[in-house]
Symmetry: C2
Amino acid sequence: MPQGQPTSIPDDGLTTRQRRTLPVLAVHTGPGKGKSTAAFGMALRAWNQGWPIGVFQFVKSAKWKVGEEHALKVLGAGDEGGTVAWHKMGEGWSWVQREIAESEDAAREGWEQVKRDLAAETYRFYVLDEFTYPMHWGWIDVDEVLDVLAARPGSQHVVITGRYAPEKLVTAADLVTEMTKVKHPMDAGRKGQRGIEW
Amino acid sequence: MPQGQPTSIPDDGLTTRQRRTLPVLAVHTGPGKGKSTAAFGMALRAWNQGWPIGVFQFVKSAKWKVGEEHALKVLGAGDEGGTVAWHKMGEGWSWVQREIAESEDAAREGWEQVKRDLAAETYRFYVLDEFTYPMHWGWIDVDEVLDVLAARPGSQHVVITGRYAPEKLVTAADLVTEMTKVKHPMDAGRKGQRGIEW
């Protein structure tokens, strides 16, 4: 629940209405849970606006997002709301061989697809799930990502999730939340739980 | 994405299978965004498990959750997945007069309904949205909440969201994430944005 009012009115020559449709770059980072989950929660709002949604999973961990994937696909296929396209590393990319899944090449190819979709304004809301890792590992150049995002046409919102968000990305983002782990059941020896973790 | 394995195996006499279905009490707190959003994202997983979901909104802010509400209701009404019941303060509680919405009495009555539903095992996944506030304000006794939650029957998962989570609640919870605000568009003078904030 956003609290209160903006603390200042920017001298950007835009009306409030124009500012309401400015494209947002959001980053969910930090060691705690909820980074991807909150991004998929945001996708519910985008869906409700009737926007086409593109999800790009940059780290293969199929087990952990099946619930969100199924739910968003059901929503996207229904009579109401926006559409949902779900791209999985090494699975959803038609131009990537399965053999190079989880590799540097797969991540780069995924990013090339995102660039094409941004240029074509294919979606209005993008979840680049765990996209911080290929940047953190040096597979994808952060400066190039920032240039592409800064130049993206129209009003395309982008949410990037994952630990170790590069400092430059945090600086460039409009909305940054750090999820801090205060306590996790695994600390108490529990394993991942059905319906909670996936 | 949970990382790695539990650091210890608890001496609780339970099997891994039993531990996987232990009821979870999760808390999303802190000043950052994503507390409720991540809870609704978790609800997607619960829905995918076919679980009945109960959402209880303890602070009236209808504008900000309409996207999630619509999406989850559409999912809950479909052929697949679990059901979704959405209770709004001063609106969803049949036994509460509209006149006392947002009041201490409404919050207490909401909590009484949660208690009845927990006792009856009405739902398997509960979102007690912004439930920290009535506890923080002293309207609802934290000790009573903890007693009720500790004694809840079956495998009912509960996620509580909101700032100022009471220390005792954090101690009792299995999973606690603090959302820290690193940066928010309102700091730059932007107002809440369609499809992002609601």
